[in-house]
């Protein structure tokens, strides 16, 4: 089979040969491959831990984005209540963007979850194959002549070696994917910190002011207005505010 499958087989076999090349006589090969297998099993465990760590980082990113969505939504409501449709629009546009990112992050985290599960399964399968090899190695040592043992060993070791190479590949692919996701999430953080979204999102406002600061000022101003109106009502100097309250928890917020 000269195509894709053939090519892959050649690559993996080369890796296995590299693993087994070092030892000279059959008994040594047996011990050496077993030792190597145990060593690689540790690497697999470490690799799985790395995938879990990466996933946790992405989940933190997810939480941050969720908070961002809530914050932008609140800001949009506040801006609209103040008649600042331009600011409300900007906040909503940012919210849309954050939601889009959140969606793709959700998908990526779900993908990582399933990769993690399959890696754990593969690790346990590899462990049982290594155990199988250990048993077989004692039988081979006890029962076969050097020439026969050589053949048997190379069969068994190749079987385990292939399994190891395969788990290694699955692990590497999972890690490469988490790296890509983290790089992307990191780039988003930096963009946000640098305010790079503003140029695209501050449509129609004609303002170069930082939207957060302006919204914050609006909020504080509205809190002050609110308090003032409440105070006025208490003192019987005027009607209670008919606008939705933005700063107090006593009155229900209008949707």
């Amino acid at each position: 089979m000269p195509g894709m499958g053939g090519r892959m087989s050649v690559v993996i076999k080369a890796k296995i040969n590299k693993l087994l090349d070092r030892a000279e006589d059959p008994a040594e090969t047996l011990e050496y491959s077993y030792q190597k297998q145990m060593e690689l099993l540790q690497n697999v465990k470490k690799g799985i831990a790395d995938v879990v760590t990466s996933k946790k980082r992405l989940q933190l990113q997810q939480q941050k984005l969720e908070q961002q969505v809530v914050k932008l939504d609140t800001q949009a409501r506040q801006a609209l209540a103040q008649g600042r449709e331009d600011l409300a629009r900007t906040a909503l546009e940012r919210k849309q963007f954050a939601q889009g990112e959140l969606q793709s992050l959700d998908q990526q985290v779900a993908e990582l979850e399933s990769q993690q599960a399959s890696l754990i399964e593969k690790e346990s399968k590899l462990r049982s194959k290594i155990e199988q090899f250990r048993t077989k190695k004692e039988v081979i040592k006890a029962q076969y002549s050097a020439a026969e043992a050589s053949v048997k060993i190379s069969e068994a070791a190749s079987g385990v070696g292939e399994e190891m190479a395969d788990v290694g590949m699955a692990m590497q692919r999972a890690l490469d994917k988490t790296e890509d996701m983290r790089a992307r999430a990191g780039a988003m953080d930096e963009l946000e910190a640098a305010g790079a979204f503003d140029d695209n999102l501050a449509l129609g406002s004609g303002s170069t002011d930082d939207i957060d600061r302006e919204l914050h000022q609006l909020t504080s101003q509205s809190d002050v207005d609110d308090d003032l109106a409440k105070l006025k009502a208490e003192l019987g100097q005027g009607p209670a505010p008919d606008q939705p309250s933005l700063g107090s928890g006593e009155q229900e917020r209008q949707a």
Partner: protein
């Protein structure tokens, strides 16, 4: 014939199906060479299906070397193309 789907599992495939797999393999190669991404995904998917459907999964404790190893199911077109550059197809 023993076939492994990389990152997935090992299967024992009857000879008749192995012949079909070989044909599909050749088709995948031509799709990649022609730069036809849709066709690549279509045929590669057929290969994986064939092995999963017709193949018998190997027992957990069976230590066997595969005759053929298929690339991982999530192989991208770019990755597939890389397989066939440089020392890829030609020396085989």
């Amino acid at each position: 014939m023993i076939v492994r789907i990389a990152t997935e599992s090992q299967y024992r495939l009857p000879d008749d199906d192995a012949a079909e797999l070989n044909e599909l393999d050749n088709e995948v190669v031509s799709a990649v060479e022609a730069g036809n991404e849709d066709r690549f995904h279509e045929v590669f998917e057929q290969m994986l299906d064939l092995v999963r459907r017709a193949g018998q999964p190997l027992d957990e404790d069976e230590l066997a070397e595969s005759d053929v190893i298929l690339p991982p199911p999530d192989t991208s077109f770019v990755e597939a193309a890389e397989e066939f550059t440089g020392e890829g197809l030609i020396p085989d």
